[in-house]
Symmetry: C2
Subunit: 295 residues, 2 copies
């Protein structure tokens, strides 16, 4: 499928997910599609549209204003949230995006593909077996100066602050039962609250030493609520668990999220997120059926 | 698309909805598809599958054991809930099902099409403009002997009992604001509780006399939670509002539900449900991607 197949009434799409963070993928190499916020909302509506956490549009960087800083033939990941707003980067989305490019555009990610995003360039490498590694870029951790986080019904707990470009506050849960019972249907209280909000991770370290650590987590994303997986959140959780573990801490972490499992590799100055990418279905949307509202 | 296109790895599907009650539609005229509960759950998963409230499989009655009571070339609506269980009848689903038959199987519903369901035969008639009328069959109303219903945080209110084959308890909300603020995230308490449970409708009558009544409603479906629309619930709400209105009450009701609007026509011994049917997208699922669990 390519932009030549687009007409006024139909829109080819693919549905995919990475650890159940799900996306509608659109192939628009030449940047011809008018992807309005209303159309994004209509596509992502889980009842009246296709349904997804967001839209990933594949467009050559030279064909989109926001891609002008990149080589023109670089693939730009035009990522939109389900509410129609633009977003910078999504680790789960980047895996699905490159799996899609391999199939739709003949890219070969075995040696790594550099993609362009609003959050800068990221390299994604195919690992085989529908798994991909995403260079998540720089991180910064502040173990001491973090806010206090109160999950609904819990007393405040001191958080580790992690910046993955976006901000995270990571607290420990005491047991797997406590983690499972935590009420994340309401946003945790964060004191002090950063002006732009913060993502909150609840973490139970399961194995803290040896070559490979293991943890289970849940995440509350700012402005969204609880999600089944968050790529930057998984990285923040691994970084926090490593800081709790002290000198013997491993640099490779198996991270269990509600939507599956990912691996976080911590290197000097950056993290690598490894996980699955699944292309579920291909289809054609009847644009007359979604009739997006103009707001 | 027809069963001849099915192979081991792919499954053609259509996504549709009626007032945002949404379905995955499968065309399986000869009854060749092994539609296991696990596959239904995988299809309906909103993150890792396609996502829907249920599956509607189109199969000739003669090709499915449960259709033996019907003429063999009647279309049987094999309706499954998202949890994989079978279901009898769904008024919103029947509209979408017949819109799909018109397009996929060349049926013409202008004069009415008789479909077979686990709840018996139902006639569905195309009204033009993607609207359909469904004969919902017999109803029974008990204005006096209904249970008390307590919505979370409300005092108990006496309900009108309505049977639409499935059971309903209908209570009045005092204002549109009260209706909008009602907490249906927890199941209302019903006293006494019928052994098989009950659907609860909250109704604000907006216009009670003249040729055409109007009401707004919300619904809590047993075993499901709040939904954006419920066909039998809309009929039950109109019947209850008519009983509250007394002698001057109209027999035709415009019913506003969270997912849109339907019309209920009350006749001697039966109700007719009119509303839209939307076919949103056609696609092909990669069966390898959903890997249903065997439970």
């Amino acid at each position: 499928m390519n932009a030549a197949h687009l007409n006024a009434d139909t829109l080819p799409f693919t549905k995919g997910h990475g650890t159940e963070n799900d996306f509608v993928l659109l192939f628009d190499e030449r940047g011809e599609l008018d992807l309005s916020p209303a159309l994004v909302r209509a596509l992502c509506d889980r009842r009246s549209g296709i349904g997804a956490d967001g839209v990933l549009r594949a467009v050559r960087a030279g064909n989109i204003d926001e891609g002008k800083a990149f080589a023109p033939d670089t693939w730009f990941m035009d990522y939109r949230n389900a509410d129609g707003t633009t977003a910078e980067m999504c680790g789960n989305g980047a895996r699905v995006f490159v799996a899609y490019l391999e199939r739709e555009a003949g890219e070969d990610a075995a040696e790594g593909v550099a993609i362009a995003t609003r959050g800068g360039p990221h390299t994604v490498t195919a690992l085989g077996g529908s798994r991909y590694a995403v260079d998540m870029g720089a991180w910064r951790l502040d173990a001491e100066g973090g806010p206090d986080v109160s999950v609904h019904g819990w007393n405040p707990r001191p958080a580790v602050s992690v910046s993955m470009t976006n901000p995270h506050a990571v607290i420990a849960a005491l047991t797997l039962d406590e983690l499972a019972a935590a009420d994340l249907s309401v946003a945790p209280l964060v004191d002090p609250t950063p002006p732009a909000g913060v993502n909150v991770e609840l973490v139970v370290p399961l194995s803290l030493d040896g070559a490979r650590g293991r943890l289970r987590m849940r995440v509350h994303e700012r402005g969204v609520g609880e999600t089944r997986s968050c790529g930057t959140g998984a990285c923040a959780a691994a970084l926090a668990a490593r800081s709790w573990a002290g000198d013997a801490a491993p640099n490779v972490w198996d991270v269990e999220v509600p939507g599956g499992a990912v691996v976080v590799r911590i290197e000097d100055g950056r993290t690598i997120l490894e996980g699955p990418a699944v292309l579920v279905a291909d289809g054609v949307l009847d644009l007359r059926s979604v009739a997006p509202s103009p707001t």
